[in-house]
């Protein structure tokens, strides 16, 4: 293992159900996600992409194999510690945004800070500053229902970034957006999220966003079939 790898999956398996209903979704995944890179995880529906990022994010436990995330052996992490680990080190961008409809954009973006115990005024102020850098300065007091899909996804991006996590996990961040908006969101993601000390992993179907990838992992039937390095990544340069 080297310092350049944020995530190391070795022979990861995941099965659901029991006995006759057993369903092996991950069949021995080997994958490395590097710091300073945006890694796309692509593949047909039902191939296990969502299950894999759920396992990587600590939302599901792997059935077998070894998983190291940000230097921690996830299989040895107690459940309570896993929650704290997630809160401190991971940021999430969801397909359906999952913003809280009753909160303003700034309050939504501030949720990870609030969950960490920061005072509301301070957290919302910081979120407001981040939203401004994402081009939403005028919309910080708007509620999700008053925002367009692209704006909501930018708020979700702010929520993923606000607590400076070292790994950002995105699930189909552009699938609910038109081409132009999706492109803009990916540009923002690339510009704001990718850092030397941070890795970004994006699950997508959308071939239009492949141009933003530093590395593309192709998945099929529960295994990674190939990994393609598309450009010089920050890690590779350094």
């Amino acid at each position: 293992m080297t310092q350049s790898e944020a995530v190391i999956c070795h022979k990861i398996t995941k099965e659901f159900g029991a006995a006759d209903n057993r369903n092996l979704v991950l069949r021995g995944v080997d994958l490395k996600v590097h710091y300073g890179e945006l890694t796309l995880l692509v593949g047909p529906s039902g191939c296990g992409k969502t299950t894999l990022i759920s396992v990587i994010a600590g939302l599901l436990n792997a059935t077998g194999g070894e998983l190291e995330v940000l230097g921690r052996d996830m299989s040895r992490l107690p459940k309570g510690d896993a929650v704290v680990f997630r809160r401190r080190n991971l940021g999430f961008v969801f397909q359906q945004y999952n913003l809280l409809p009753a909160l303003t954009a700034a309050e939504n973006a501030a949720v990870p800070l609030l969950a960490g115990g920061m005072r509301r005024n301070h957290a919302v102020e910081r979120a407001g500053e981040l939203l401004a850098s994402l081009g939403l300065e005028q919309r910080r007091h708007a509620r999700p229902a008053q925002l367009s899909g692209g704006q909501q996804q930018r708020v979700a991006l702010a929520r993923a970034l606000i607590h400076s996590p070292r790994l950002i996990v995105c699930d189909e961040p552009t699938s609910a957006l038109d081409h132009e908006t999706g492109h803009a969101v990916m540009e923002l993601l690339k510009r704001m999220a990718v850092r030397e000390d941070r890795a970004v992993i994006v699950v997508t179907h959308d071939a239009r966003v492949f141009e933003f990838a530093d590395r593309i992992a192709y998945m099929e039937d529960g295994v990674i079939t190939r990994v393609e390095v598309t450009k010089k990544s920050i890690a590779a340069v350094s």
């Binding site: 939302l59 929650v83 999952n98 809280l100 409809p101 009753a102 309050e107």
Partner: protein, 379 residues
């Protein structure tokens, strides 16, 4: 995260109002019906409580409650007076003669007696007239309810005449009585007059009212009277509770009120529980996102309980205010006088609302605690 929890709750106005109203009406029904029940039960001992001069009631040993008495022989009075520790003892008559106004309106009334000489046993809350005027021939005191029936829309004044069992009697005083259970108008007359209005029978004395010697407890004097005479002697408090216990045990009143209160509790729990559960289900993705982001189960449980407690506090405040307002508005209504919201019922209802809201939120908490945060990755 408390802020987030409250915003989630208050942001869904329709459900929030639905939840609060479910708790409010449940609170109103429970506290209102309990207060009415308590008031009705309290009414069964009204005339016991209205006698302020004596605190011991002597009666036939088989007496079960105030409204059903077997008349005592006059000799009983002298035997009671002979018991050591009795300061004084006076006879008391209680009957149900018919009173008729000049215009022909009539009602069965509750006639109570006071002692001929000392006037012991007379009511204390006099609105007009003078108790001493009971010494006049053919005189009675009548309560405000009786006055408003026999002399409607007339200002309170003494000197008016009417008939009681064909005897012409004169009102020498008007008083405020505690409303009796049967809602009969209440009259007081001297003992000798009372039995004359009723019509003489062999035994007329309903009770002997006793005052204990200073320095001796009522309980001790009761014990001595029982031992010496074989009669039942009870303190006014005991006799009042014996009467209430009789009505609780031998009437359908507690069952009927109990059913209403139980339904209020059940409906409140079901409606609040269902609405709260639907509210939680609709926010399941949001809770999943919070769990994914790293909010602990304990914190989420705290958020749901905070939401539930806010609903309980607001709903209870509205409901209990409605109950208090009802009794405040109706306190001067003759038929509803004496009903009020006791603090014990307000407290008990608060506990019931707490139970409702804990039960209502339990399902939601369970649903969220078992929620797999990976749900957020499913489109």
């Amino acid at each position: 995260m408390n802020f987030v929890a409250l915003q989630m709750l208050l942001g869904d106005r329709a459900k929030y109002i639905g939840l609060v109203m479910a708790v409010a009406f449940s609170t109103f029904l429970m506290s209102h019906q309990s207060s009415i029940f308590s008031g009705v039960m309290n009414r069964t001992r009204s005339q016991i409580q209205d006698v302020q001069d004596a605190s011991i009631w002597v009666m036939d040993p088989k007496t079960q409650y105030f409204d059903e008495v077997k008349a005592l022989n006059d000799n009983v009075l002298y035997r009671v007076r002979g018991v050591p520790g009795v300061e004084w003892a006076v006879p008391m008559y209680k009957g149900l003669p018919t009173a008729r106004a000049i215009n022909g309106d009539f009602r069965t009334v509750l006639l109570m007696s006071v002692d001929d000489n000392s006037l012991a046993g007379a009511p204390r809350r006099l609105l007009a007239g003078d108790i001493a005027d009971l010494r006049q021939p053919d005189s009675v005191l009548m309560d405000r309810a009786a006055y408003s029936f026999f002399f409607p829309n007339q200002p309170l004044s003494t000197g008016k005449a009417f008939e009681m069992n064909d005897h012409r009697v004169k009102v020498v005083g008007i008083f405020e009585s505690s409303a009796p259970f049967t809602n009969f108008p209440v009259f007081y007359a001297r003992y000798s007059n009372a039995i004359r209005y009723q019509g003489r029978e062999r035994n007329m004395m309903s009770f002997v009212l006793v005052k204990a010697h200073p320095g001796l407890s009522d309980e001790e004097v009761c014990r001595r009277i029982r031992a010496s005479t074989g009669l039942t002697a009870r303190t006014d408090l005991d006799f009042g509770w014996q009467t209430i216990d009789y009505y609780i045990a031998h009437t359908g009143i507690p069952i009927n009120f109990g059913i209403t209160i139980a339904i209020a509790l059940l409906v409140g729990t079901l409606v609040a529980g269902q609405t709260f559960y639907i509210f939680t289900l609709e926010n399941l993705k949001q809770f999943g996102a919070l769990k994914a982001i790293g909010v602990t189960n304990w914190r989420i449980m705290g958020m749901i309980l905070l939401q539930a407690l806010l609903v309980a506090a607001v709903g209870y405040s509205i409901g209990i205010t409605m109950t208090a307002a009802f009794f405040e508005i109706t306190k001067n209504n003759i038929d509803l006088r004496g009903f009020f919201l006791p603090w014990q019922i307000a407290t008990g209802t608060a506990v019931a609302v707490l139970i409702i809201i804990v039960l209502a939120s339990a399902m939601s908490i369970r649903r969220v605690l078992v929620l797999e945060p990976a749900i957020v990755f499913r489109g």
